[in-house]
Symmetry: C2
Subunit: 253 residues, 2 copies
């Protein structure tokens, strides 16, 4: 893969994920979307609603990745502290964005209140750009290489779709899979040979249980569609030689 | 909360989580189990199958948390590199554990092979303790404060249950919730007052959509059951005053 390919980190902010109350549903979505755009999701961190932890973590990961996407903590309640922390991480003041304040006031009418207007808060600076979306009147925003987004999956997705066209793309990562009711241990040696013969492809092996029968799903990932197809065909042949019919996933397109 | 309460970090190792192919299902389980034991899950990191990243991350988090739980990468295939990385992080050799080798050989019989025997590899040292479990013949292991576990959720859970009795416990974290079809922004000011009146309780606010209607779930968490109940009762009263009947979750026990 090209060293110039952009990389990303997802920062999931929220006690509710770490307490197990809420199952994260954003990382898998971001991972899929970023891979298709050739942006490598290199790391994800799930951190609690603790200001110093948020500030320190953000300052660490924004130095080492092309893009950072945060989710969570931008609503109207007292536990929504992400914007204060992002501003602190960048050494900026928090200001109220006039256009967002106006939009929130128009939307909420006589139910407008201080709490809701907190959703118009953004870090100060002419470079801070709103992330509008079609689900929520409260936007996210971009500051330098950091995209601050909602935690609610439908809103996070809408915000991601709004920013995607503006991201630097890399060589797209393709993948293909092949599954069979063979056990990992019975194909491991052959898999390693196939991996070594396809150095530009990453061959992953994932056991599964279906209809009470163990099986293995092999996934080849990389930027070279022909090499992926070659690796997967060879894995399929190994599965067939063991007497199990391989089921191929869609050809990478 | 007590500063002496033990803390934990979960390290999810696997390209398949970052690519979005596989939805992580271990973090929420660990979070719930640890909270009940009074061990604070402070952080989770999802990292790729890259040896130096695994080594460096493990060496960072094992210094800062009482316990580290890793998931993934201990199977028989070439992409299972966790044990090599854990050994490298601790500056130890990888050795084959005789008892595990014997158990694997007994289990697999004439299907025993080099790949499967890799699952008997552990870092060297008299302190390395196996984590037996009732699902998989291949164990995890403990080395110092690090617990190396499988990624497959059923196996990860069985391994966690095996180690749980041996962990240092802290003050258990309790929680109670109350839900109503009120909007976060309409109760935010009252919530903040209730939070401030209950400094030992963490009050979180989570919007939801049910039957096409927006609502808010409030969760109070902490070690003091009476304070949690007080906070939740006050939130319920606020919801009722807005004309929506609150639905209380189970009393913390």
């Amino acid at each position: 893969m090209n060293n110039a390919d952009p990389t990303a980190c997802v920062l999931v902010i929220g006690d509710e994920i770490l307490s197990g109350r809420t199952q994260d549903a954003n990382v898998a979505f971001f991972g899929q979307q970023l891979a298709a755009m050739g942006i490598r999701l290199k790391e994800c961190r799930i951190i609690p609603d603790v200001p110093q932890v948020i500030v320190d973590t953000l300052n660490a990961v924004r130095q080492t990745h092309t893009y950072v996407f945060t989710t969570g903590g931008i609503g109207p309640t007292h536990d929504d502290i992400t914007t204060d922390c992002v501003a602190a991480a960048f050494g900026r003041k928090v200001v109220r964005h006039p256009a967002v304040e106006k939009a929130l006031t128009a939307y909420y009418g006589d139910r407008t209140n201080d709490a809701r207007l907190r959703m118009a808060n953004v870090p100060d600076g002419p470079d801070v750009a709103l992330i509008e979306n079609h689900i929520s009147v409260a936007p996210g925003y971009r500051i330098e290489n950091v995209f601050v987004m909602a935690g609610v999956p439908s809103v996070a997705r809408a915000m991601f779709e709004a920013v995607a066209p503006h991201l630097q793309k890399g060589a797209p990562v393709y993948s293909q899979s092949v599954d069979a009711h063979v056990r990992e241990g019975d194909i491991a040696a052959a898999l390693e040979r196939i991996q070594n013969a396809h150095p530009g492809v990453s061959v992953g092996s994932y056991p599964f249980m279906r209809h009470d029968k163990l099986g293995t799903s092999i996934v080849a990932r990389g930027t070279d569609k022909a090499a992926i197809a070659s690796a997967i065909q060879q894995v399929g042949a190994v599965m067939r030689a063991l007497g199990e019919e391989p089921v191929f996933g869609p050809t990478p397109t």
